[in-house]
Subunit: 208 residues, 2 copies
Amino acid sequence: MDQPSRSAGTVRPGGRTARVRAAVLEATQDELVEHGFHGLTMDQVAARAGVGKTTVYRRWGSRAGLVADLMTELANQSTPYADTGGIEGDLRANAFSVLEALNDGRLGSTFQAVIAAATSDEQAAQALRAFYLRRIEEWANVVDLAVKRGELPEGTDGGEVIRAISAPLYYRLVVTREPVTREAAERSVARTLAAARAGAFVVPDSAG
Amino acid sequence: MDQPSRSAGTVRPGGRTARVRAAVLEATQDELVEHGFHGLTMDQVAARAGVGKTTVYRRWGSRAGLVADLMTELANQSTPYADTGGIEGDLRANAFSVLEALNDGRLGSTFQAVIAAATSDEQAAQALRAFYLRRIEEWANVVDLAVKRGELPEGTDGGEVIRAISAPLYYRLVVTREPVTREAAERSVARTLAAARAGAFVVPDSAG
DNA sequence: TATTTAATGGAACCTATGTTTCGTTAAGAT
DNA sequence: ATCTTAACGAAACATAGGTTCCATTAAATA
């Protein structure tokens, strides 16, 4: 096979190629909603997208390649951090955006699929890591702003605060598989904020 | 096919049947370490276990069935909660036991596999949920003891505290796929404890 | 130790998944 | 408008993954 996903689609990305990609990613999401990552097949995706399966294999190579590309696509649509004027509002905005994403049929299924894929596929793992590290970095800004406003102690690690907001929600989604509720999101904010105010997110070697 | 994993192995569980199960679960773990859940095949497992593949299909039915059984087996080996005499020591003991498990080649691979399987298989999802809810319930005791000793506020939700200890570690393992370090475990304890002392884990309707 | 039959396992079998071939279509360039 | 060839897709093909059949082995019981 000619290199999947490398050569194909780069020289003439316009028109047909773009339409094929959109249709395939769309179909992939639909299939993930209905069958999960384990039940995802290249064949079904191709059929659903109205595209030759040869094309799907050529450009994406494998199921993991499909979900990795999907994740990359989502990364590009990432929304900027909120600025509500106060750290509590900002963190709530962050928690609720995660909450909504996880409970959205299409997005939630997609996240779970990529998480599953990433456990045994390096390509998917990288797409996943890239997505979250970018998102964390983006939202860490709200913490820096809060520190400047004097709402949180000097040296508070923004990235860690943002991780702490999301962690309990993903833990419920993927580990204990309990419903990810609005209350869970609110509690996560309250607890993270309590710890942050107590200085538990201050890193040893960062005093400016 | 006769009902997989229902009828088989229950009437004559001694001798050969037990040896087959042990060999198959052992082989499953080995395969998970080497190839991950996606690369796990019934065929390979059977060959590695030195067992007919018919047997594997008959008793476990699918890859998800294998990892679900593996998880059930681990649940039975679950160790009781620590009692170091202080809540900080107890929570550290909990965090370190999670840390060790996730960084252990065999256990870590197994957890990741079950998590992956659970995203699209209900049997695996149930085994996973059962394992963690049991573990959480078990360790929640250390929080109740701490409340009785006056170390934490009345009404502190033990299950939630234990979840909060683990969550950041699993989040790193499975979502951002960053290394799960000793420092991460220690930070998790410090932050959870700070929030707990501030009363952020007190549930509204539980004052005794 | 003999009997019954649960449980196993080799081998043949089948289907879905993945690959290769090659003719057709249309993007991009002139 | 014409040309070049990237990209697509139908169909034939290969094979790994999963299933069925039935003879063999050995638990459990007396």
